[in-house]
Assembly symmetry: C3
């Protein structure tokens, strides 16, 4: 298996064996974080980071990852880059991607929420860069997928459960003054189902995710002989769950007329206060772990009691962002 | 003495011996700036820098310090970080600090002037980060203190005077179209008095500093058998001084109703044109050094003649920011 | 020849031998990009980058260059730096430059278009920094010159033509919704003529460049026994050309009353649709290379057919920015 030069836009594009190779290397890197085995992998090499949207963990974990591999990550904000878009003149993606391929060894892109006018535009942009660049394109979260989050999630679940095959994953919608992208939850559905979990998706009516992702998840579960179900009540999904993933996401109506109707989504999301992960619901599970990609909206998506409780793995999962990204960069850009 | 893992929010929190350890190492690092003894101390390690307020010297000297120790400093602007504040939803300091502790080996925070609504809020924020983070929290200047400036000041004074014990430090208010924070001058009072100086604080009526800081300074002087005095005339403080520190600061009335009344402060500060450090006043001193944390407001806080004169140590002190910060990072985050 | 400590504000300030030394080292660095001969040249050293104007290639290529030499480039935006300007209070260039010289080993400055009120102000600023700084000042493109672009241009032309002496360079104005600075084209005229080319400058009436630059170019050509001409028709310059450089630039009327009249320039530049480099015009040349400093305004300055055609060297020239800048930093700031 040789992952050198591969793009990672969605985990569904990679084989389970390839994803396992990343997780295996990430686990070694976590055990022996500053080993000389890793610290020269990207020595003197550059990873470009395009942040259309700001970020805390993604910025910090990617930039730290490059540093720990001996390389350097450049923090770039495309708003200052005179790039061509639907509405502004500027450089074509072809020209930008071809030149960047001469300078750098990888390019990460983050594009979410209000930086797009319709669901899918972010994914289109990443695939356009992938078309022209000769270096790997890595999603640092975009409208459709968040593959590094998915890898970090599974790494954390494996650390705490030993194995996830045959375990039940609940992905539950959470309320709050929020209109969050679909990328993290969609990635969780895809990667959880790839790794052999039973998957339950729970949300109020009207909060459907991308039908293609739901279809893939169903197919992944079927291929592994596992179950997939969608429920619309608050509690039934919790029964027997081993992992609970409670997170807000916007409705399919969020993008209309070329823009995100954020306030409308926030108003709508506040109408479902029962959709919070709390101790009473967690009591219905099979002593489930609580997982979340952060930032956590405490008091809305989940109570403090659960988020800071003994079964919460949120900090471990967040830490794993660093390790899976190091492994990913090493395998796709380094000399491994 | 083991400083590994220690926060530095104010020099008054550290013992004189600990501060001297920083200064001693800083002097060695200055003598032999790129020695292999130092260049691997933070190798592959990350220092996070939160700039709520912009900066020239602080940004450059911290980022350069990390580079010279073999590590990397990440420049972060919290306004893009979706953190929870009094007025905005977002991530709690607990969650942010716990995750950052997994990625980085230290966290610097700068928060001043208009980024707070009342004196003390910046200090509260740093102490809240210190509460949750398991890595050192370093003040890069906040409303109350500026410990790295204080260390650089003393390092420069020692270089030029040999010893500061028994020497007279004048900290004098300067006029100008400014409303500067109290952090640098308060730190100078504290650290000067810790190191055995006689201290005179000179300012117009109505420009009192934090009573706690004045109390500590008085106590430090008393513990060393030195004098402390406050004067409200322009010239008397200069008599017999060995070091003159002339700098604008805002009045205690600057923060009211949860905000900084900057224009009012500027108008007020311009009413005292006699409060400028000039050659005539310097002639009253015992051939005093002129010191200032920069940026200098030439023509208001001090004349060009004095700022660029033979007794000015402003560039040496500014350079020392680099060396004391390298020493501080080495001792609190590195493997020394 | 010792270039250590030299500023590079315009190639005309350097001897041809000095420019050739940069190109020779750049060629070696390109052949063996990560050789240990280069990767420690700036080890643990800092290069400061002041971006008054944003950039893609310049930022990426300078930051990558520092990384590949073992050093670190700091991305700084002077708008956050409280520097003194004609209209704002703040720190003097003297104070800023003197302190930066204590921290860093070089300082790059980019200042263009709307960040100045009259042609020449950017150049004045760089020369003011050069006056006070004790470290090299490198232009990263300013209103008058773009020396790194000029070096990258010649490096690319040499790669494709073997020798440029006696070859014909056409620098032709291009239309479009643009008002581009003079720096790149002026640098091309100067460096092409220094290296022994015949030079033709083609533009509509009213688009004269800096008379000083035209005078120097004429002198350079004369010194080499080559020709220099200015033409005002669209096609005649193409005849017999070996290199075609088609690029928009603003008129000499662009700056008036202390500001850039950008929209006026754009409206004016759109009135000349015949001024585009296309296949028909290229057919008049001696199988000329197409060159451009990027970003390319495809469909205005040049057709897609030519920009992406077999004789286009735009990506090679863009790549060479990295190599010439590495060589330049090595020679002026490193231990070569």
């Amino acid at each position: 298996m040789d992952l050198y030069g591969h793009d990672l836009i969605c985990t569904q594009d990679w084989s389970v064996e390839e994803l396992e190779a990343v997780l295996e290397l990430a686990a070694k890197m976590k055990r022996d974080r500053f080993s000389p085995r890793w610290t020269s992998i990207l020595q003197h090499k550059t990873f470009l980071m395009f942040f259309y949207n700001p970020s805390v963990r993604t910025r910090q974990s990617f930039e730290t990852a490059a540093t720990e591999l001996g390389g350097h990550a450049q923090f770039l904000e495309p708003k200052t880059m005179r790039l061509k878009t639907a509405t502004t003149a500027g450089e074509t993606v072809e020209d930008a991607a071809r030149v960047m391929s001469r300078y750098a060894h990888g390019l990460g892109i983050r594009i979410l929420e209000d930086k797009i006018g319709a669901y899918g535009e972010g994914d289109d942009l990443l695939r356009e860069y992938a078309r022209w660049a000769t270096i790997p394109i890595i999603s640092m979260a975009h409208d459709k997928y968040h593959p590094c989050q998915g890898l970090a999630d599974v790494m954390g679940w494996l650390e705490h459960l030993g194995d996830v095959r045959g375990k039940k994953l609940l992905v539950a919608w959470g309320h709050g003054a929020l209109a969050r992208s679909w990328c993290s939850v969609q990635e969780a559905l895809l990667i959880g189902s790839r790794f052999g979990m039973d998957v339950t998706l729970a949300h109020p009516e009207g909060y459907d995710l991308d039908p293609q992702v739901v279809e893939w998840t169903k197919g992944n579960c079927a291929a592994n002989g596992r179950t997939f179900e969608v429920v619309h009540d608050v509690t039934s999904g919790y029964e027997g769950a081993h992992i609970v993933y409670s997170r807000n996401w916007m409705s399919p109506d969020a993008y209309r007329d070329g823009q995100l109707h954020k306030q409308e989504e926030i108003d709508r999301a506040l109408r479902y206060p029962a959709w919070i992960c709390d101790a009473a619901k967690m009591a219905l599970t099979d002593d489930a772990l609580f997982t979340h990609p952060m930032p956590v909206d405490r008091g809305h998506e989940v109570t403090d009691e659960v988020a800071s409780g003994p079964r919460s793995v949120i900090y471990d999962v967040a830490e794993n962002r660093l390790h899976v990204q190091k492994a990913l960069m090493a395998l796709t850009m380094g000399s491994m």
